[in-house]
């Protein structure tokens, strides 16, 4: 518990978990949490558990087969286990004396041969499983590459659209090395945003892109950056460029917020 902890902070937690807190109360609680209040963090985890229950209280809806197939294509399941090889055993018949001994010898030889074949089958099965895993891995990479390729093709079509406009965003005081580019296609009402040189977001935080319209910020979505500090975002339903006064990126709680609350890192 931090020295500034009070029941007032505790009373703000349910609304914070719900995403309803705004204005000065939001800034106050976030500052308190950032100061490391363990009691508030513990209580917040409990409230977030309740909010998750609330989310799960909806009536379930079974996804379509198309959606399920797309997920499976993205991540194909490994191959089925090796088929069981049926081994026919010779019936043992009772013969007297030599005949019985001969049968036992034949059976022993057969068992030895079966064991040998079994070992070979195990080896073949292991090789097959290894190859199946490799194929599954390649399929996964292919699925990801296809999804990425489709995303890039869509982004490229916005960038190369004849009506495409470019807005450049520059890093601010805390991130002078960062930059951003927004390509907007007014005809399609869509935009693609690319950021570079941003520091990795802290745990529980994300970057959020905004456009300013009539003096008000409108969320364009959240994004994270890779190890090189690059990130991108595709935005639908963008206002016409003539109505947008500016673009900006702020640091916000994971999941994003309705109105900007955190540090601005890019603007243009």
């Amino acid at each position: 518990m931090t020295p500034g902890h009070s029941t007032r902070h505790e009373e703000l937690l349910p609304a914070y978990a719900l995403g309803a807190l705004d204005g000065g109360e939001l800034r106050e609680l976030e500052a308190h949490l950032a100061a490391g209040c363990e009691e508030c963090r513990r209580l917040l985890d409990l409230w977030q558990g309740d909010v998750e229950e609330l989310a799960a209280s909806v009536e379930p809806v079974e996804p379509s087969e198309t959606t399920r197939r797309r997920i499976q294509r993205l991540a194909p399941a490994p191959a089925a286990p090796a088929p069981v090889v049926a081994i026919r055993r010779s019936p043992v018949t009772r013969w007297a004396g030599l005949a019985a001994a001969a049968c036992l010898l034949i059976a022993a030889g057969s068992l030895w041969r079966q064991a040998q074949l079994g070992r070979q089958l195990d080896q073949v099965g292991a090789d097959r499983d290894r190859l199946a895993r490799e194929v599954a891995g390649l399929d996964q990479q292919l699925g990801l590459a296809r999804a990425e390729s489709q995303r890039l093709a869509e982004s490229l079509s916005i960038i190369t659209s004849p009506d495409s406009r470019l807005v450049q965003l520059a890093g601010l005081e805390t991130t002078p090395q960062a930059s951003g580019h927004t390509f907007i296609s007014p005809q399609r009402g869509a935009a693609v945003f690319y950021a570079s040189g941003l520091p990795a977001s802290e745990p529980g935080k994300t970057y959020q892109l905004w456009w300013i319209q009539d003096g008000k910020p409108i969320s364009a979505g959240t994004f994270d950056v890779d190890e090189q500090g690059s990130g991108n975002l595709r935005v639908e339903n963008v206002a016409p460029p003539g109505q947008i006064q500016a673009w900006a990126v702020t640091v916000e709680p994971e999941g994003g917020v309705p109105q900007p609350t955190g540090t601005m890192v890019l603007k243009g």
Binding site: L18, E53, L54, V58, E62, A77, Q213, A239
Partner: protein, 187 residues
Amino acid sequence: MTSPPPDTEPALIHRIASGDGEALTRLFDLHSPVALGLLVRILGDRAEAEEVLQEVFLQVWTQADRYDAERSSPRGWLLMLARSRALDRLRRREARRRREEESVEEETRLDRIEPDGTGRLEAAERKSRVSSALGVLSPEQRHCIELAFFEGLTHTQIAERLKAPLGTIKSRILLGMNKLRQALSTS
């Protein structure tokens, strides 16, 4: 990310993070109906909800290493990702609707209709089964909590929407959440 015990749901996320496609399918089979239910509830459009569901699982596939088992269950993480994406779409849709409405209002004054969100909320209330936990709340408390959770509205925005004092909205949410906590802990 440390290795969670095998055969648990956190272990599924751990497997997804290491590129196990079967684990992703398993997670999809376990939780996609609830996630899709949540998306339909927020967006009110089945086709759009399925589209967002695919985006959510793509995000799970590519960002499973960001999952923190100490902060939420896999289901909770998945549902919060779904909610966040759906609310993003809802906010953009609302911004576009406002723009279109403003341009229409310049030409003609039509009879005022309920905002999309409220209408959809009420329609969903009629159609969907009311959860037992929410059933313990007063209608006003439930409405405020649902506006915050399913439409992503803040205290101030709810007060504007319902034309009620800000303090009243804050009280309804605080009391409502406390009642919800009690109901969930006793159910």
